[in-house]
């Protein structure tokens, strides 16, 4: 059987992913994460009497801590499994990727294990985050003059 014919045979027996359903769950959970983030900013800036910028920083720290903590407790992967991109795209996903790699490799030593592998998944987020920030900054400079 040639490769194209086989590809057709395979796709006949391959189930469709529920894109709409997954998208809606991610939209809902992601939206709730946004609400939680905004609530944290409001609470911090109100009670600690700090600027919104400083409160946003504290909000990020809180969410990263939560992502890491729940990963360590061993059930964040199950939440992600349900919420999918709703928890992966926000900063919690970044924390989860870093923490799960750190947990996995901690037994291989601090340098050869955690140090060398902690960014295994999150590394590409940083690289392409920096690259796209640079490109969009450049675009902004060209279009809006800075």
């Amino acid at each position: 059987m040639d490769k194209n014919k086989y590809k057709n045979l395979v796709s006949k027996h391959t189930p469709k992913e529920n894109v709409l359903c997954n998208g809606l769950i991610a939209f809902g959970v992601g939206g709730l994460m946004g609400v939680l983030g905004q609530a944290l900013i409001d609470v911090y800036s109100y009670f600690l009497n700090i600027t919104t910028n400083d409160a946003a920083m504290l909000m990020i720290v809180t969410l990263v801590f939560l992502g890491c903590f729940l990963t360590c407790l061993g059930f964040f992967d199950k939440l992600v499994h349900f919420a999918r991109c709703g928890l992966i795209i926000p900063i919690t996903g970044f924390a989860h990727a870093m923490m799960s790699a750190a947990l996995e490799y901690r037994k291989e030593g601090f340098v050869t294990g955690i140090g060398a592998n902690m960014f295994k998944l999150a590394g590409s987020v940083i690289i392409f985050g920096v690259v796209s920030a640079y490109l969009f900054g450049l675009l902004r400079l060209i279009i809006m003059g800075g």
Binding site: V10, K12, F76, H96, A97, E104
Partner: protein, 328 residues
């Protein structure tokens, strides 16, 4: 390439599994199941070494033999440099043939053992295989605690160790014949659809076996593939019909049997070198010993996957080996 055997028997087997398999529908047939995925060790890799060691221990105890009575150990696993096998063998001190056939390793081991016993090069042999879900996830995919979404066609590596003792003593299950498989690559490069990768290899080997032994498909009470999963199973049936005009009757897949697919989060079913022998040595042999089924063709399927090759845009080759098992 098909071999015929007159005097080779699988006298006894031993199976040991992790918690997911222990909660599955076949749990009562396994010799031992642990609740702890670390198997009282410190790392996933040490856990997998223990799976091989302990399955051999259980086997030798069952047969009231010691390791000094065993001529050769033929073993393999999924980890790099087959470390589970090598480290287990270093504590056992039995002469070793370390093999790699991905998830087809179990039947490859049985074939090598049967050939050596038939040729009277050795009096007996133990074949072993293991796989560990977390050790495999770590090596081939993502860190265990990472919960990135997976597709429905993804298979779940079974955790377990399985060993078999073969000799020319006429007890247990007769090894009647075996067919070595060829490597097949039909251009699938999707690591989350291993059933599609392996189905053509299984089909090719089943067809070769039937042709070289001049048998009809109905000769066997059961055709059993290793770890195609619930979607791979349908692909194989369709492929056999389209390519060879053979209707697969009395057919099942070990990967679809070991878990409760609807209630356990295992996606398309089980995979891993331990999957085929865990099901065959426990549940299937039990049925054969009760004479509910007499002739079984076990076709262990292996996706010869390498992360670097897949990342550099190559497809995944696959292999399948078949062994014909009988009770009189």
């Amino acid at each position: 390439m098909t071999f015929k055997y007159n005097n080779v028997y699988i006298n006894d087997t031993a199976t040991i599994t992790g918690p997911y398999e222990g909660k599955g529908p076949l749990s009562k047939y396994f010799d031992k199941s642990y609740d702890d995925l670390y198997f009282n060790t410190k790392t996933w890799e040490l856990a997998e070494i223990k799976l091989i060691e302990e399955s051999i221990d259980i086997l030798l105890n069952k047969m009231e033999l010691t390791k000094f009575d065993v001529d050769v150990l033929i073993s393999g696993d999924l980890l790099n440099q087959i470390v589970a096998t090598n480290y287990a063998a270093s504590s056992l001190g039995i002469p070793l043939i370390g093999i790699y056939g991905a998830c087809s390793t179990s039947v490859l081991g049985l074939i090598i053992a049967a050939n050596m016993i038939e040729a009277k090069q050795v009096k007996n042999a133990i074949t072993s295989t293991s796989s560990h879900n977390n050790a495999a996830e770590k090596q081939f995919r993502y860190p265990v605690e990472y919960g990135g979404p997976k597709r429905k066609t993804t298979t779940f590596t079974a955790t377990g160790g399985a060993s078999a003792y073969l000799s020319s003593n006429k007890t247990g299950i007769k090894v009647e014949s075996a067919t070595l498989g060829k490597v097949v690559d039909l251009g699938i490069s999707d690591v989350y659809h291993m059933g599609a990768v392996m189905a053509p290899a299984a089909a090719g080997t089943i067809y070769d076996h039937l042709r070289e032994t001049k048998r009809e498909i109905g000769y066997y009470d059961l055709i059993l593939t290793g770890d195609l999963g619930i979607y791979g199973k349908e692909i194989l049936k369709d492929y056999m019909q389209t390519e060879y005009n053979i209707e697969l009757k009395n057919y099942d897949d070990c990967g679809s049997m070991i878990y409760d697919i609807l209630n356990q989060a295992v996606y398309a079913g089980a995979s891993g070198p331990a999957c085929a022998p865990l099901v065959t040595y426990s549940y299937i042999f039990n049925k054969m010993k009760k004479k509910n089924i007499k002739r079984v063709l076990l076709v262990a399927t292996g996706a010869l996957m390498n992360v670097t090759m897949v990342n550099t845009k190559n497809s995944i080759p696959a292999i399948a080996h078949a062994i014909s098992l009988e009770v009189e």
